[in-house]
């Protein structure tokens, strides 16, 4: 697909299996793991806990972004309010120049704002990186609709057993990519 050029990757040889059933996909994943395959890619049109359980991937770093963003936002909120108050002290309503209670509101809003922004940027960054990872060349539009898929990177020599394994697990179709 030419239009994918912004996200084009170098080709990786391998086997792409299309599954119609969730269960079969889960079995295939298990089987691949058993036969010692690493770094294969699973496509699914929706998030299914069965897949997550089967893949048992490490925890995403995104939460770190959120935390950092939140903390940064809060401190920025505190800083601008207090600094700006004391930079040019102006009395209003007989209140202290820098009075914390009203500033808490600003701090809170900044926390959420920065937290949310870093999260979004973080996840977009990560997913795009993911999209650029090896093995994601072979793709089938049905994967965002109603089919699950597994792509196993494999040289032509040892593609055979993989195809058999996937077939065995109930892949609806298997092709070399």
């Amino acid at each position: 697909m030419k239009l994918e050029s912004p996200f084009a990757q170098r080709p990786t040889p391998g086997v792409l299996a299309v599954f119609g059933e969730l269960g079969a996909t889960v079995d295939a994943i298990a089987a691949l793991k058993r036969s010692g395959h690493q770094g294969f890619t699973v496509y699914s049109p929706l998030a299914r806990h069965e897949l997550e359980e089967a893949l048992a991937q490490p925890v995403s770093p995104v939460r770190a972004y959120t935390l950092i963003g939140g903390i940064a936002g809060c401190s920025i909120g505190a800083w601008i309010t207090l600094y700006m108050s004391y930079d040019w002290p102006i009395q209003v309503g007989g209140k202290p120049i820098g009075s914390i209670p009203p500033y808490v509101v600003i701090m809170f809003e900044m926390t959420v704002l920065f937290g949310a922004l870093t999260t979004l940027l973080g996840v977009i960054f990560n997913t795009i990186m993911a999209a650029r990872q090896r093995g994601t060349i072979a793709y089938d539009p049905r994967f965002t609709n109603d089919k699950f898929g597994i792509f196993v990177p494999a040289e032509h020599t040892d593609a055979g057993p993989v195809e058999k394994l996937l077939k065995g697990c109930g892949a609806e179709e298997v092709r070399r990519g």
Binding site: T81, E109, A116, A130
Partner: protein, 454 residues
């Protein structure tokens, strides 16, 4: 978790649907629009045009063109501001809070709610700029380093407001985009022509790989976790615009929860108002079912009861607390020059929701639609009463109490705001999935062959 899934699968809603049906149904809504759509869009743009013209007059000659009069220094514009901010609340509530509560029915409706949220905040944000006396200096409210070395006053609720609305708009937008990414990808893979190009770019390369899902899922969760307190805070801050002052009937500790409840109340009503026609228009009956509307109705009922309680409390404490100005204010709300506004608000917001105790009404779309309209009206009127009426009925300085009459400038710009909102809404629903694709699928039983289930 498994049991959870099965119970969800057993919900009476989409047991006949397959993943493919979902994708197709939603993709269908993005087809090339018919005449009806263009008529609606034209109406919206015209309304917007009227608003813009009024606005230009306002800039040229000054706020005097609007109906303001001493002591009614705030009126229709701020009313509209609070109204739209209120509308904006159900969106994030449904998408964030219900997400955290794992209530499955949200998936079919949350996208509409989120779209509404984003555009409502966009609309609301305009009013503070419109209503100030020297609109061309609005940026002085923003803390930016300037030659004069001046900063805004962070003790002013208006500055909190600016931060709250700004944050809320940004976060809701993030949330919307987050939810959209997999769906756009899904549409991309079935779309053709220029739309395909559009979706290919906007899908940001989503393919639903395990890597992407791995980051996506927690990120969505954290956003929800951030958005939830935000929803509650935003309208609290808006309510503090009033509660922080010493105007009787504004100066109430009750205001924050009272406003938040009111906001969700009006928000859900607006969702219904928008969803019922949209559902018919896009033939989404299979995805958006009575079940969803009933749940929305229940939300309205709940928040409506809270609002009702708040009204009663206000009157009770005006009487029980006893300061003359306070009593003065509420006497004025009920029997003053603007009694009609006060009673419209009471009837629409405090009495009408009681109807929803009956399941027959909750599941009757016509009834729901009518009620939702009245709830919107009532909530607009509530803000009008709190803002314009309680200012007009100045309870401290009895000498300046005076009437208030809105003018064409008020109504024109209010009309424009509706045009603005509906223009964006219409443009969006025809070009991006108005119902979540991926998440609706989560509510369906995964495809299995009989006998292979384990």
């Amino acid at each position: 978790m498994t049991t959870h899934t099965t119970t969800r699968a057993q919900t009476p809603t989409h047991h006949t649907l397959s993943y493919d049906d979902v994708t197709r149904t939603i993709a269908r809504t993005l087809g090339s629009p018919g005449r009806g759509y263009y008529v609606l869009l034209a109406c919206a743009v015209t309304m917007l045009g009227i608003g813009v013209i009024c606005l230009l007059y306002l800039f040229r000659y000054g706020l005097g063109l609007a109906g303001y009069s001493m002591p009614t220094y705030w009126a229709v514009y701020i009313t509209c501001f609070v109204f739209w901010v209120g509308i904006a609340h159900s969106g994030t509530l449904i998408s964030a809070i219900l997400f955290l509560f794992r209530s499955g029915w949200r998936t079919a409706v949350y996208r509409v709610a989120e779209i509404m949220t984003v555009f409502a905040v966009m609309t609301a944000g305009l009013f503070p700029l419109i209503h100030i006396g020297r609109q061309w200096f609005f940026y002085w409210l923003v803390p930016y380093p300037n030659e004069r070395g001046l900063w805004p006053n962070f003790k002013s609720p208006l500055v909190w407001d600016e931060f709250a609305i700004g944050t809320y708009f940004t976060v809701s937008t993030c949330f919307l985009i987050m939810g959209l990414i997999p769906d756009i990808a899904a549409i991309r893979d079935v779309a053709t022509g220029w739309r395909k190009k559009l979706y290919t770019l906007t899908a940001l390369g989503w393919r639903g790989t395990n890597e992407q899902w791995r980051h996506y899922r927690p990120a969505y969760l954290y956003l929800a976790a951030l958005a939830t307190p935000l929803v509650l805070s935003v309208h609290s801050v808006v309510s503090w615009d009033f509660a922080m002052s010493q105007v009787p009937a504004w100066h109430e500790t009750l205001f924050a929860p009272y406003f938040v409840a009111g906001a969700i109340y009006s928000g859900c009503a607006m969702v219904i108002t928008l969803l019922i026609p949209l559902r018919a228009f896009f033939q989404l009956e299979e995805l958006v079912t009575l079940h969803h509307f009933e749940n929305l109705a229940k939300l309205i009922l709940l928040t409506g009861m809270i609002v009702c309680y708040a009204y009663v409390t206000e009157y009770f404490f005006a009487w029980y607390g006893g300061p003359t100005p306070e009593r003065e204010a509420f006497w004025y709300r009920a029997f003053g020059r603007f009694w009609w506004a006060g009673w419209t608000m009471n009837v629409c917001n405090a009495f009408l929701p009681w109807l929803l105790w009956s399941k027959r009404i909750r599941t009757n779309l016509v009834a729901l639609f009518v009620i939702s309209i009245f709830v919107n009206l009532g909530m607009w009127m509530e803000r009008f009463v709190i803002i314009a009426v309680h200012l007009a009925g100045e309870p401290f300085e009895s000498y300046v109490r005076a009437g208030y009459n809105a003018t064409w400038a008020d109504w024109g710009i209010m009309l424009g705001s509706f045009g603005w909102f509906f223009m964006w809404f219409l443009l969006f629903v025809k070009n991006f999935p108005a119902v979540s694709v991926a998440e609706v699928k989560e509510e369906l039983p995964p495809p299995e062959h009989a006998g292979r289930h384990r």
